[in-house]
């Protein structure tokens, strides 16, 4: 399990879990789940386009991620957010089907791009992933307060000079960047589960922002590690375990919230009696 070729998988998956846990916290807080799903899914045809044009895969992914971010924020000016996101997504996927059919040999890669192929990570891929992840995490850290402010209250943010639309655009850009980098390794659909599951569970358990963010990263790490181990043992795709475990972590969060609520009600009533 820890042999040489598996080490690359462990390293890259750990990096991606940290990025997904961090950005996922804001995805959940800002209610951007659809965009977080649409960006990776709309970005993956970029790989097929790059294969067709004969350029570096990462370049194609970044271009498609940029198209996605631009589409969501531009169409969002005239449409409701979810409709704008859906329209951007179908446009990118439509392009994707064309490129996929043009470069026939690429159809084998579709499964890996959608559902991830952690075990196929090569040593050369680690450095670009690490660099882009560092940029995404650093950008999130720099924008931590304004992002939080505009997420919690757009009006308050505007009063403090934080333009909600610009924040949205910046955040989507971070999301697009993280996506383009994680995609060839863990797949379009898995990135999304890893962003939404851990963060939503963390937010149910802890209410203060920073501890919630750290908890979200921790849960994401545990999910990824357990998934890789299980995938190694059973030979089943990693995406299955990540999706299932992410849903379990959310369920556990709901359960914890329910228990905490139950424990709190009697104690507060006794306090009231004593007081």
């Amino acid at each position: 399990m820890f042999s040489n070729f598996m080490m690359n998988a462990w390293i890259v998956a750990t990096i991606i879990a940290v990025v997904a846990g961090t950005t996922g916290f804001f995805v959940v807080l800002r209610g951007n789940s659809f965009a977080a799903h649409a960006l990776p899914l709309g970005t993956f045809p970029g790989a097929a386009a790059a294969a067709f044009a004969g350029v570096n895969e990462l370049f194609g992914l970044v271009v498609f991620a940029a198209l996605g971010v631009a589409g969501i924020s531009q169409l969002g000016r005239r449409q409701r957010n979810d409709v704008a996101t859906a329209l951007t997504l179908i446009f990118l996927l439509g392009l994707g089907t064309l490129f996929l059919s043009l470069s026939r040999e690429y159809s084998q890669g579709v499964f890996a791009l959608l559902f991830g192929d952690v075990l196929g990570v090569s040593r050369a891929e680690i450095l670009p992933v690490a660099v882009i992840s560092a940029i995404a995490v650093a950008a999130t850290a720099l924008l931590f307060r304004p992002l939080l402010l505009s997420a919690v209250s757009a009006d308050l943010g505007a009063a403090r000079g934080v333009a909600a639309r610009r924040m949205e655009f910046l955040f989507l850009s971070i999301l697009g960047l993280a996506t383009a980098m994680a995609l060839p390794v863990v797949g379009a659909l898995l990135v999304f589960s890893l962003m939404v599951g851990p963060a939503s569970a963390a937010r149910l358990i802890v209410s203060r922002p920073l501890p919630a963010l750290l908890l979200s990263v921790a849960i994401a790490l545990v999910i990824v590690w357990v998934s890789i181990a299980l995938s190694y043992l059973t030979n089943w795709p990693v995406g299955f375990f990540v999706g299932a475990l992410a849903a379990c972590s959310y369920g556990a969060g709901r359960g914890f919230q329910w228990l905490a609520h139950k424990a709190q009600v009697p104690s507060s009533s006794t306090n009231a009696l004593v007081g």
Binding site: A86, S107, L189, V196, A246
Partner: protein
Amino acid sequence: MLFEPGFFASDPVQTALIIGGGAAVVSGVAGVFTVLRGQSFAGHALADVSSAGGSAAFLFGINPLLGFLGMAVLAAGAMDLVGVRRAQERDLVTGIVLGAGLGLTALFLYLDVTTHSTTGAAISVMFGSMFAIPPSLIAPALAVGAAALLVVGLIYRPLLLCSLDPSLADVRGVNVRAVGLLHLLVLSMAVTLSAMTIGAILSTALLIGPAAAALRLAHQPVAAILLAIAIGLAATWGGILLAYDSYDWTPGHGWPVSFCIVTIIFAVYLCTGLAPRPRARA
């Protein structure tokens, strides 16, 4: 030549025209309500999750219609069961169900490939296989479509009221939650039909595209629904025709049907942006 020879005589084309047309009609109706209710994400998620059913059908050799529909209905039930009031939380639960469902898709597709060595399963489930639908599916597919239209017809007024103003509907004694669940059910039938034709991850195009374009032009709900159906039908049939004709334009292989349909829908949507906006929202 507009219609290449043999267009109407070909069996796969006829099947594609019929089932695609049915998918366009049901998606147009369901899509208008979905856009009004701000549930594009749910519509997309149901379609994606239904792909788990599609790939399971491949694996166990059951009817693909049953596979897609069963999984979509299960997902709709799960989304409703976790039941949350705030819209933001609703997106979150949708996302969790979506993630789990796609995990299942990954598993089934993997098993498909390893046990049946059908490497094309991923492509045909996710991106559709319009010209490979067996004609025996026409009758059940149309039955599903008719059932969806019947449900919408029965709950048309309460559904419209709930979509436009849930609190007013609540005051009027409408069971908002039940109507919401029925809408999810209709939605899953609509996405099942379009997932089989243009593919699970592209079915959002047929659901949201025509409805969003129609709602930009029409002033009234009925007009919007009819317009959405018309746009959907034009795009589907136009796309099939384009894909069929394209075999002669680019020698060797044609353009994918899904690409043609999505492109037409997107072009229509962009054109509606040029039209003057309706004065008041319905």
